[in-house]
Symmetry: D2
Subunit: 114 residues, 4 copies
């Protein structure tokens, strides 16, 4: 089964079993997502630029794994509440980007936004 | 195939074909993730609390779909660079939360963090 | 003396006394700012919409005071490193907004961005 | 006059003249703050680490000035709604940090959080 659909279903059940749906409006979930992205930022903010390009050490990778997981869990929950098919939208957006940034023209050039 | 693994592979190929790997260190990708979450925030910030709990109108849902897709694309890219198995970490974290917040005790009570 | 200029000078001295200037580049400080805004978000994310419009209780106000202070300290430090006169820029931007959003036309209407 | 108090008073008048107070609850303003920090992140995300430590070029500095100003305007508005004296809290927090991180012990060492 699709892992995004699976996480979405599990997060919905998790929410309903605790009657937490009342807290899960678009604004509250976006704030929760902001909080988790802030925790990722705190993990990497003082890394030397050189360390930031290497694979992080094991301890940092573990902590990043936990925070990135929290970001994903709120993201799938927010998409579910918003009625957005996250997997389909991401695949579509990536296809758009592939044609919007032809490899030849943009090779090694910092993208404006992508 | 797992859709997260599929998106991760496509984002990696997208990056390599454009030689954009030089831009994709942990700090730069976390900043890109922050920028996309900021775009989600701008879409919902002035919604009346009542509207925020309903399914959004079609125009807002479309715009949310695009921004949430951007968040996911940078999230899978960041996890790939960090050497994190995002699907496995999210499933594991959700299992931890299920036992950490027993439905009975936490029913309808605003979670401290979940 | 201007309190923003005073905070800027104190943060610069604080940084130099600890030889932390090496950590205070534009990207690292923006990540630190993101982390602090994330802590503000975590404090308000589950507030009922009704509570969010009232003055917060004393405990929440104290915690908000600490996190908003952290946001300001990194903001003045980031502006200093960027060579931006924050007080002048904010006063100028507010003057622009005052003419961009004439009270008559925009009365009670959710602003697109302001 | 204190420039933070001046900006706070001007933002309050700006809001009241447009009857925008209804939009300025703690959650909505934190989302607006998140959106503006996201715009700062988008400006610096792809900067090479080397460029990030120099003073930015004039064009980037101008754009940073505008976005940092927006961050400050929402920050003072949020503090006002929260009943927080931002200047006093920031001065107090900085005094705490000065004693919490003695220059000798922390010289040149990446701070955990500061």
């Amino acid at each position: 089964m699709s892992d995004l659909a699976d996480l979405t279903a599990r997060m919905r059940a998790f929410t309903e079993e605790r009657d937490w749906g009342r807290f899960h409006d678009l604004k509250s979930l976006t704030l929760a997502l902001t909080g988790e992205v802030g925790e990722v930022a705190e993990l990497v903010q003082w890394l030397p630029a050189s360390a930031a390009v290497d694979v992080p050490d094991e301890r940092l990778r573990e902590r990043l794994g936990e925070e990135l997981a929290d970001v994903l869990l709120y993201l799938v929950r927010l998409a579910d509440v918003a009625g957005v098919d996250l997997a389909a939208e991401a695949a579509r957006k990536l296809t758009v980007n592939e044609s919007r940034f032809p490899p030849g023209e943009h090779r090694g050039v910092a993208p404006e936004r992508h």
